[in-house]
Amino acid sequence: MDIKLQDVEYRYAAGTPFERPAIADVSFHIPSGQYVAIIGHTGSGKSTVLQHLNVLLKPLKGEIEIGSRTIAAGRKEKNLKEIRRRVGIVFQFPEHQLFEETVEKDICFGPMNFGVTENDAKKRALEAVRLVGLPEDILKKSPFDLSGGQMRRVAIAGVLAMKPDVLVLDEPTAGLDPRGRQDIMNMFTGLQKTNGLTCVLVTHSMEDAARYADKIVIMHKGRVHRTGTPRDIFRDADSLTSVGLDIPETVRFQQLFEKRLGRPLEKVCLTPEELAAEIGKLRGEIS
């Protein structure tokens, strides 16, 4: 399912003395089946953009196409449920939204709100728990007795069980340790590759954006600063640093190495593995 934003604008507390702008002139395209990363600092407007993707916020100007629906400013929108089922959002620290007595009931909450029968929802819960790499017997436990990392996975399972077409992830690994971080990120890429899920990752991490994304949208002060493929974006490092964003460590390391070498490598490497291989190749050529 494609999502297209066209000149979207939003202001918080519109019409009160506390009004403040959030985003303006935001246009970009999330093509079906792709992995899109939205990056920017805190306050760059990326969370506001995220909430438009399933119409938790409605644009004050502009419009958003979500599949076959168009949400335009100033129109009353009804029947948003179908959009919310198809665009699942995993919010930051999603474990804060757990509330049921058992993990199973909590995971079933989403599907059942969208009209799935209890039996089917339970089947989905089992599938979802397996997908996020938790043991089956966890279904009968209370979510509040689990470790932080497990709670995070349960919350993610709760969104996956809705079987969305688009999965929006807001800093899904914040606060996790390095190993947990990697496991979860790999799971999302797996879902995108094997099930054709569209993924939208909202993140501060340049490393994750470089490693996983097909396309990057950079937000700065409520506007889209740049969009492009990771190689395009990171080739032009100055454009990133000009808005106070870091470049991925791999790219920075590549630049250091290129300075010694006196010429650029063939391509901008996005992961340390890629860069190590590239430097290895070079050694073979030189010696």
Binding site: H96, N113, M162
Partner: protein, 265 residues
């Protein structure tokens, strides 16, 4: 949705009203609440109204904004108004629909009571709009200070109040966040029957309670780590200063009360 409520919000500015001692403002309100009940005719209500608008003017808070903020309580005001219109049987009969008879006295009383209501809301909203919540707390702690002698835990109560105030925005943000997370999972908070809506609130309330308890626990640990061991031997960073301006305001209020006494019928 909570953005429109103005009661309890602070609007920074440098007006005379903002600069008053919170104790003066609190006393002012206690007395004002009392003297509003003195008004009982056109002249006295006009006087009170003029006085209220004078304070609004001095506070530099936009009237449009105050009136906008009245919306949530407007229903209550209208209800009170009609209650009096329909149930007061004084004065001449104005009109009659079926079993309802409307008397002139009822309309007048309805207007007066609604006005009284509005004036009280204006003035109390002004208190919070012009005083940072922490100053209100300091004011209360100081005014009720003498109660410590009869073992009322004034310090603890004030601290509780100031911590609650400090966490209101945090918890509102959190409510908004959890609500959105549940809406993204298909929860519907705004339609259905009353029992549906009550049920819909559970997925919101439980996470909120869980997080509030966690916060409380962590806060208690942090406070202990920073040396908090109760009110005994504590000094205060904020010191309230009573100025000429505050005395003037009190005098003004005395004059107003006297005028109301004389002019009421």
């Amino acid at each position: 949705m909570m953005e429109k409520i103005i009661f309890g919000r602070y609007l920074p500015s440098d007006s005379v009203v903002h600069q008053m001692d919170p104790r003066a403002k609190l006393l002012f309100i206690f007395i004002f609440v009392g003297i509003v009940f003195l008004a009982n005719n056109v002249v006295t209500y006009a006087l009170l109204g003029a006085f209220t608008f004078l304070i609004v003017f001095l506070s530099k808070v936009k009237l449009r904004f105050l009136i906008g903020g009245l919306k949530p309580v407007l229903l209550l005001v209208l209800f009170t108004f009609f209650l009096h219109v329909f149930f007061t049987k004084e004065g001449d009969v104005l009109t009659q629909f079926g079993f309802l008879t409307i008397y002139k006295g009822g309309v007048i009383k309805g207007i007066f009571i609604s006005l009284r209501f509005l004036l009280l809301i204006f003035v109390t909203s002004l208190l919070t709009l012009t005083t940072p919540p922490i100053s209100v707390t300091d004011g209360i702690e100081s005014l009720f200070g003498p109660l410590k002698k009869i073992k009322v835990p004034v310090h603890e109560l004030a601290l509780m109040m100031s911590i609650s105030l400090r966490f209101i925005p945090t918890l509102l943000d959190e409510t908004d966040k959890i609500m959105k997370a549940q809406m993204a999972r298909g929860a519907d908070f705004s339609s259905g029957s009353i029992s549906d809506r009550v049920k819909a609130i559970i997925p919101l309330l439980i996470p909120l309670f869980v997080s509030a308890f966690k916060r409380a626990e962590e806060l208690a640990v942090a406070m202990e780590a920073r040396g908090y061991k109760g009110g005994e031997g504590r000094t205060k960073y904020r010191i309230l200063r009573w100025s000429m301006r505050d005395t003037m305001a009190m005098l003004f209020l005395v004059v107003l009360s006297a005028a109301l006494f004389i002019l009421r019928s």
